[in-house]
C-alpha cells in the first residue's frame, strides 16, 4: 500500500494582484499515498486553500509538477481537469454546496451525469452511495428539507458516488454543531477504514486529530509534517 497517489514537486502559486504579486505557495514538495488520512492545518492566508485547490484540480500551479496517479496534472487543459475532478476527486465543502432545487438523489447523481452514465445505472449507484451515508430514506428531499448534518452526508455521498481516488474535504464540520460534526467525522473514519484516501483541510485540532498525518502550512510552505507513514 505504499503506492503514491499525489506527488507534488516544487509547487509554487503566484497571484498577480494589482501591483504586487502574491506568493500563495512557495516550492512545496508533498507526497501522499493511497489510503492515507491526512489533515492540512494552517491559519487563514497560509496557502492551505490554494494547496487544496491545486490538489483538487480546480487550480493549476504557476510552477512545479503535480502527478496524480502518475498523470501530469500541471500540463492539463480545463476540460481534462474537469474530467479528472469528475472521476478521481470527490469534494466535500464547508457549505455543502448542494444544488438547492434538486433532490438529494439528483444531487448525488450529478457527477454520474457528467460521466455520461444511463439513468438506471445512475440511480442504482446514487442510491448505493446514499445508503453508505445512511440517508437512503431521505433521497427524495430537497436540501432545504434536510438538517445540516444530513446535507453534509448528501455531499459526502455525492463525493463518493464515482469511486474517486481521493476525498477532499474543506472544513467539513465548519458549519455543523459539535455533535453533528462528530458524527460526520465518524463517517470519515469509517470511509478511511474502508480504503478511501482522505485529505482534509481544517483549523480545529480535534478534527485534525482524526487524521493519521497532519501537515501544517505557514506562509505558503510546509512548516511541519507529522505522522508520515
Amino acid at each position: 500500500m505504499k503506492d503514491i497517489l499525489i506527488d507534488l514537486r516544487q509547487i509554487s502559486k503566484v497571484y498577480d494582484t494589482d501591483k504586487v504579486p502574491v506568493h500563495a505557495l512557495r516550492n512545496v514538495d508533498l507526497q501522499i499515498n493511497h489510503n492515507e488520512y491526512v489533515s492540512i492545518m494552517g491559519p487563514s492566508g497560509s496557502g492551505k486553500s490554494t494547496l487544496m485547490n491545486i490538489i483538487g484540480c480546480l487550480d493549476t500551479p504557476s510552477e512545479g509538477s503535480y502527478l496524480l496517479e502518475g498523470a501530469e496534472v500541471h500540463t492539463m487543459d480545463d476540460n481534462t481537469l474537469a474530467r479528472i475532478r469528475n472521476k478521481k476527486i470527490g469534494f466535500v465543502f464547508q457549505t455543502f454546496n448542494l444544488l438547492p432545487r434538486a433532490s438529494a438523489l439528483h444531487n448525488v447523481e450529478l457527477p454520474l451525469i457528467y460521466s455520461g452514465l444511463s439513468s438506471q445505472e445512475r440511480k442504482k449507484r446514487a442510491e448505493e452511495a446514499l445508503d453508505r451515508v445512511k440517508l437512503s430514506h431521505r433521497k427524495d428531499h430537497n436540501p432545504n428539507e434536510l438538517s445540516g448534518g444530513q446535507r453534509q452526508r448528501v455531499a459526502i455521498a455525492r463525493a463518493l458516488v464515482n469511486d474517486p481516488s481521493l476525498l477532499l474535504a474543506d472544513e467539513p464540520t465548519g458549519n455543523l454543531d459539535s455533535e453533528t460534526g462528530a458524527d460526520i467525522m465518524k463517517l470519515f473514519d469509517e470511509l478511511h477504514n474502508n480504503g478511501n484516501t482522505i485529505l482534509m483541510v481544517t483549523h480545529e485540532e480535534h478534527i485534525a486529530a482524526h487524521a493519521k498525518r497532519t501537515i501544517h502550512i505557514l506562509d505558503g510552505q510546509i512548516a511541519q509534517d507529522k505522522g508520515v507513514e
Binding site: N53, G56, L58, D59, D78, N79, A82, R83, R85, N86, K87, F91, F93, N97, L98, L99, R101, L110, P111, I113, Y114, S115, G116, L117, S118, S119, R158, N162
Partner: protein, 410 residues
C-alpha cells in the same frame, strides 16, 4: 453520442426548471421573439391566403387571353393621356376576327352594362349584363350548368335570350327551374335559356351575379354608342407573343396609324396584373421581414440580457457543477439550451397567436388567410437562430467562469 444525449436531457431539465422558477420573466423575455415571429407568420398567412384566392380567381381572366381595350390596365397615373383615344367598335372586332385564323386565336367582343333584372316580384339591381357572341363561350371559359348556350342563329338574329349566372338563379328564382321562363331586363323581356356553372367570390366580387345576352341584342336594347373591348384567346400559349404582335399590326392598320405614331389602343393581359400583384406582395413581405427582424433583434438582445443575469444568479451553481466534473463545454451548452428553449417557447406562443390572427382575419375581412407550412418552420427556425445567436455570448461567459471564485460566490 449516448453520453451527449444524457447531458442534453439533463440540460433541458435544468432549463425547464429555471424557466418554471421565473415564469413571468421568461414570458416577458420572449415578447420580442413573439412579436417578431407573429409579424412574419401573420403576414405570410395573409399573403398565402391572398395568393390562393388570387391565382384561382385570376384564372377567370385566362392567362392566354389578350384584352384589346381603350385603356391600359396599369396607367401609372397618366390616365388623361388615354381619354382622347377612339372607342373600340364592333367593326374593329369584325376586322380582327376576319383577318385571323380561328384555330390560332379566337376573338370575341366584350361589352357590359349594369341593369335591373326582374322576375315575378323579385328584382336584382346593378346586375352586369354582358353582350356575347358564339366565340365568347370559348374565350371566357363559359360552362353551362343547366340548359344551353346561344346558337349562331340566336346571335345573328339578335334574339332576346339570356343565360344567367348561378347566383341569379338562386336569388331571382329561389332555385326553381328557370329554363324557358321570361324575365325582364331594364323592362325588356328575355327568355332564359341557360344557367352558368357556379364560379364563386373573391375580394367581395361575386362572379355568379352576371347575365349574358347576344351582343346584337345588347346594342338593340341598351344603345349603340359605347366602347367595347375585344378579347382574343390564343389557343397555344407559345404563340402569345406573335399573336399579340399580329393583333397590334391589324389594329394599327385598321385605324390607319402611320409608323412612329403611338398606339391609340391597349393590348392587356393577365401577366400585367400578376406582375403588379407580385410586386405588391413582395413589398409586403419585405416590410414584414423588416419589422420581424427588428423585433427579433430587440427580442434577442432581451434574451442575451436575461441570460447574462441568469449566469450571474447561478454562478454558485456553475461552480458546483464545475467542481464535480462539468466541462466548460457542458456549462456553455447548458446555457445555450436554456436560451434556445426560451426562444422556442416564444416561437410557439407566436405560432399559436398567429393561428388566431388568421382565423380573425378570415372572420372580419374579405381576405382569405391560411398559415403555410413553410412559415411555421421559418418561425421556429428564426426563434432557434435568435436563441443560438444571442445565447452564445452569455453561454461563453458562463463557461469561462473560474470554478473557485464561483464556488465562493454568494
Amino acid at each position: 453520442m449516448l453520453a451527449w444525449l444524457i447531458k442534453l436531457k439533463e440540460n433541458i431539465m435544468i432549463a425547464v426548471k429555471a424557466l418554471k422558477q421565473h415564469k413571468m420573466r421568461s414570458v416577458l423575455t420572449t415578447l420580442g421573439i413573439i412579436i417578431g415571429v407573429l409579424t412574419v407568420v401573420s403576414v405570410a398567412s395573409i399573403i398565402s391566403g391572398l395568393n390562393k384566392g388570387f391565382k384561382d380567381k385570376l384564372s377567370f381572366l385566362g392567362s392566354n387571353t389578350l384584352y384589346i381595350q381603350k385603356y391600359p390596365w396599369m396607367t401609372h397615373g397618366e390616365w388623361y393621356k388615354y381619354r382622347n383615344r377612339p372607342d373600340l367598335t364592333m367593326n374593329n372586332y369584325e376586322y380582327l376576327r376576319d383577318h385571323t385564323n380561328s384555330e390560332q386565336v379566337v376573338i370575341a367582343p366584350s361589352v357590359s352594362s349594369h341593369r335591373e333584372v326582374k322576375f315575378d316580384g323579385n328584382s336584382l339591381t346593378d346586375v352586369p349584363i354582358n353582350g356575347v357572341t358564339k366565340e365568347s363561350e370559348i374565350v371566357s371559359n363559359m360552362v353551362i350548368d343547366e340548359g344551353r348556350f346561344f346558337t349562331n342563329l340566336e346571335i345573328d338574329r339578335r334574339k332576346n335570350r339570356v343565360v344567367i349566372g348561378y347566383a341569379i338563379k338562386e336569388k331571382l328564382f329561389e332555385n326553381k327551374d328557370p329554363i324557358g321562363i321570361r324575365i325582364r331586363i331594364d323592362g325588356n323581356s328575355f327568355y332564359v335559356i341557360g344557367v352558368m356553372e357556379k364560379k364563386g367570390k373573391f375580394l367581395g366580387n361575386n362572379f355568379d351575379i352576371n347575365a349574358y345576352i347576344p351582343v346584337g341584342s345588347f346594342f338593340k336594347n341598351f344603345g349603340y354608342h359605347r366602347s367595347i373591348s375585344i378579347e382574343a384567346k390564343v389557343m397555344d400559349a407559345a404563340n402569345l407573343k406573335p399573336v399579340k404582335e399580329k393583333l397590334r399590326y391589324l389594329m394599327r392598320f385598321a385605324r390607319g396609324l402611320k409608323p412612329g405614331v403611338e398606339d391609340n389602343f391597349s393590348i392587356n393581359q393577365q401577366e400585367t396584373i400578376q406582375q403588379q400583384y407580385d410586386s405588391l406582395t413582395s413589398g409586403l413581405y419585405t416590410a414584414a421581414i423588416g419589422i420581424g427582424t427588428l423585433a427579433l433583434l430587440v427580442g434577442g438582445i432581451g434574451i442575451m440580457n436575461i441570460m447574462l443575469v441568469s449566469v450571474t444568479e447561478r454562478q454558485k451553481e456553475i461552480g458546483i457543477r464545475k467542481s464535480i466534473g462539468a466541462t466548460n463545454r457542458i456549462i456553455s451548452f447548458q446555457f445555450l439550451v436554456e436560451s434556445i428553449i426560451i426562444c422556442s417557447l416564444g416561437g410557439m406562443i407566436a405560432l399559436l397567436l398567429s393561428y388566431f390572427v388568421a382565423i380573425g382575419i378570415q372572420a372580419v375581412t374579405p381576405f382569405p388567410a391560411s398559415i403555410p407550412l413553410w412559415s411555421i418552420f421559418m418561425g421556429l427556425g428564426f426563434s432557434w437562430f435568435v436563441g443560438i445567436f444571442f445565447g452564445l455570448y452569455p453561454a461563453h461567459q458562463a463557461a469561462k467562469l473560474d470554478p473557485i471564485e464561483s464556488l465562493h460566490y454568494e
